[in-house]
Point group: C2
């Protein structure tokens, strides 16, 4: 049982590369001998604390990332589409409320993280696929409803997510990310034989698999396995 | 013959991730149906023209990159080691003279690019493995000698590399990189059915292989193939 290696995934739904990493890791949690821990955190806090700047501020990098995300979304089979105004969605509107909401879902959930997984995915679908808001209470409620939460559960989560306890939980997750040396998301932290190996981005899975002693079968392992 | 797809690799020996991409592509040029074009260029010029900043200026990113390079070097089987003072080597000393030297080698070489490949590798070995200078004429001569150039060839190249023609050739390669939307190196440009697909970094080979209709066999394809 406990021989499974713990892999923590720090993410924020404002980050499209985090979505790719999230889907890949959710697929591999049943393929590799790992215990995946979803760590919803606040990317804005990490960027500020690390002194890092969003890569999209350099015009050529922004253009590359758009194209890169389009190609990767197809290859990873994730329905990712850049919103019409990514700067407005990412920097002006942001994800603080949304990530507190995910923290509240996590705080309420017992015996697994299916709700956290589903709510996170629905939030990503809104911002990074359907170009919809993720800041208004109604938007969060809709995402939670699609994720299968009942009306009473949603009400509870919405009350909870404005409490100091949940604000502190999000801060604490963000600080945990910083303690691993974060400067952005997605960040994967593998606990291997008492040591930690940190990987940044959604492009280190092959190397991470190598460090974990597992096999990388591409971003769609079930499809690949079926082909072998 | 001409059914081979052209893949251009833009690189600068000041960049460690470029070394990884260079070795991988030199391995795959005999595995994939591609015509690899080595495009030595000047990273400093690209950073300035694109308004990009070196990633190592963010402390957490610098620490991650050190660790990332150490792990990747092992996994890629490239003898890369960070110099004692990477800022001095990369930013104060830089690579302008070295890349003019490589351009001069390329200008002199006919019927292939074996000398360009070998000289580039020897320069990387100096700066990114042995922590040695790559700015002095004697340093460049030593690299060229190890790469198998004769004394007279080295003398010719050294005369050539201060000429306006070679300075212009390096500028022109750097401008070509910019015209593909560069903001750093390594940059790979694949010419596929009359279109170009640009990939930045040494972590898009799997996706690039997919776009080229080729198979990614990991960073050491000969070893992998032997195992299959």
């Amino acid at each position: 049982m406990s021989s499974k290696r713990v892999v923590e995934l720090f993410y924020d739904v404002v980050s499209p590369y985090s979505w790719l990493a999230f889907e890949v890791m959710c697929r591999y949690r049943t393929v590799w001998n790992i215990d995946l821990k979803l760590r919803p955190a606040f990317l804005g806090g990490v960027m500020q604390a690390s002194g890092n700047k969003p890569p999209g501020l350099v015009p050529n990098k922004f253009a590359f990332m758009n194209n890169d995300l389009r190609r990767l979304a197809k290859y990873f089979n994730v329905p990712l589409q850049t919103p019409a105004d990514p700067f407005e969605a990412m920097f002006n509107k942001g994800s603080l409320t949304a990530m507190r909401f995910v923290q509240a879902v996590q705080a309420k959930e017992t015996g697994g993280d299916q709700q956290v997984e589903k709510v996170s995915r629905e939030l990503w679908k809104r911002i990074w696929s359907e170009d919809k808001d993720i800041t208004e209470p109604a938007s969060l409620a809709e995402a939670a409803q699609r994720a299968g939460l009942s009306s009473s559960q949603i009400e509870e989560v919405q009350k909870l997510c404005t409490t100091q306890d949940i604000k502190d939980k999000l801060k604490s997750a963000t600080q945990a990310a910083m303690s691993y040396g974060s400067f952005g998301f997605p960040m994967l932290v593998c606990h291997i034989d008492g040591k930690t190996e940190m990987f940044f981005g959604s492009d280190r899975f092959e190397l991470m698999a190598h460090c974990l002693g597992e096999k990388w079968l591409g971003p769609q392992p079930q499809t690949s396995s079926a082909k072998l």
